[in-house]
Every structure is written in structure tokens, then in C-alpha cells.
Symmetry: C2
Subunit: 128 residues, 2 copies
DNA sequence: GACCGATACTCTCCTTTGGAAAGTAGGCAC
DNA sequence: GTGCCTACTTTCCAAAGGAGAGTATCGGTC
């Protein structure tokens, strides 16, 4: 034990397992990137999102949005027009998750140089 | 625009791309779970980690640890004993990332019920 | 009236990733 | 020698993911 008090997110192992499972579903690359895109812009349509999440395929965008909708992170509004229009936006729950991830983005931005240095160092040690 | 000031993590698109790439490497399920296990216990050995990260395979544990080492998140100390012993612990950088993720765990713990409800609701709507 | 374009998917094919389980190395106890 | 311990590797197979083409709808164009 090194840091008592700070680390016991859950005392009950059943809760702990549930939290782990939830994290597993929420903490993937695409979910995070879509979350960011939606935080930045309130509401977005499907292909607009596709454009603002660099590198995502349509299949993964559909899949990620469906899963986020299922978890209650985004809402989906279909307009019966032609051409069709669908708008996605964060729910309160999704917005709160975005705020929780805010610290991670700040960490990444703050430590870009350190990470780059660590990587260069590792590569130098492993393949001289 | 909905939330000016809160969302502009990066103004420079080059930095933005770098941050996104970093997030992509750091924000995967196994990295997060290993991070949590190491936050809880200071230093851990390989198979001890395997036991405390539910469901991880040895291959993924090795791979995740190597990648985390490369990013500068964990340090690896080999003891020249028999049977062999290897200890992993978080670096300062890794610890800071753990703290940044703290908010996400709290979010997950706090909102378990809401997520569960959203999921039940979604499933009921989609497959009645 | 056949054709085109716009949008939000969906389907198919193929590559990459991930899991399960067996194998490896090296020394010590027997 | 034989077996055992740990921290990996390797192999094989199943599952996830990317690329690109296909679908449905309707209004506007020629």
C-alpha cells in the first residue's frame, strides 16, 4: 500500500467489477475522440462527425455512436427530411464524462514533450 | 459553439493531432486497468498484475506493460534471482496520468445506476 | 420520365488484433 | 538427471476493424 485513502475507488468487489466493466466500455479511443468532437460543437451530424474525428471509418463511427447512445452518453435526433439528417449531441451524462476526461486531455497536452522524450529514450535503449 | 473557453484544449491543429495520437495510445482498456492496479499497490510483479487485472491475457499484459514503459508511464526493474522477479511501478508521469483518470473512475462509480438505466431503456426500445 | 445528388447508413472482403494454451530459459532442490 | 519456479514467447485460431461499394429516399435537372 502506498497511498491509502486516495486509491480505494470502490471497496465492494462487486461494485469494483461493475466499474471496471463500465470503464472498459467507455474508455476506448473512438469513444473518447467522438466525445471530444461533441463537446466542442454542441450538436453534429453523422458525416460532420466523421470529418472531425480523424481516421475513423464509417463503420466504427456508427458502432461507436450506437454504443454511446446505449450507455446514455449521446442522444440521437432524426429529422424526416430529404436528404436525411441526423443530429447527435451529448446528454448530461455524456457531458459529465467529458468533463471527467478533461483532466486527461490537459495531462496529455501538458506532457507531450515528456512522453516524446520517454519514447525516444526507450527506443534508443532497445535498438541502438 | 456552445462552450467557448472550456473546450479549446489546443488551438494549434498540429498540437491537437499530437494530443489525439497520445490519447489514442494511452486510452485503451488494458492500459487503464493496469494503471489502476499499479496505483493501488505501488509496485507489482508480472503475474501479480495478471491476477489483479481481471481477464487480461499474458500476451496483452506483456504488450501493455511494454507500451506503458515506452511512453514513460511505468518503470521496470529486473532482479537477477531465481526464480526470476520483475517489478513494475508507476513513474511520476504515470502517477499523474492516474490522477487525471481519477475523475473518470469517480464518474463511473457515481453514475453506475444511470448507465444501467440508460442501457435497459435503450434495449427495451430497440428489441421490444 | 430517366438520371443525378445528397445523406446516413449497411454489407462484403480482407488485414490486423487479441485470446488460449503450449513452449522456453535458467538455476536450485531433490 | 527430473521437476519446479517465474516471466515471458510463440503458435494457432477467432474476433475486431478498415476500405470501399451498395442501398433507400426524394427532390431537382434535363
Amino acid at each position: 500500500m502506498e497511498n491509502p485513502g486516495h486509491t480505494s475507488y470502490a471497496d465492494d468487489p462487486k461494485i469494483d467489477a461493475l466499474v471496471n466493466e463500465t470503464i472498459g466500455r467507455v474508455a476506448d479511443k473512438w469513444t473518447l475522440l467522438v466525445l471530444e468532437a461533441l463537446e466542442e460543437a454542441g450538436a453534429r451530424r453523422f458525416s460532420d462527425l466523421g470529418r472531425s474525428v480523424p481516421g475513423i471509418s464509417q463503420k466504427m463511427l456508427t458502432q461507436t455512436l450506437r454504443q454511446m447512445e446505449r450507455e446514455g452518453l449521446v442522444s440521437r435526433e432524426v429529422f424526416a427530411e430529404v436528404p436525411p439528417r441526423v443530429e447527435y449531441r451529448l446528454t448530461d451524462l455524456g457531458h459529465e464524462l467529458g468533463e471527467a476526461f478533461c483532466g486527461v486531455w490537459q495531462w496529455a497536452e501538458r506532457n507531450l514533450a515528456r512522453i516524446e522524450a520517454a519514447r525516444a529514450d526507450y527506443d534508443a535503449r532497445k535498438a541502438p
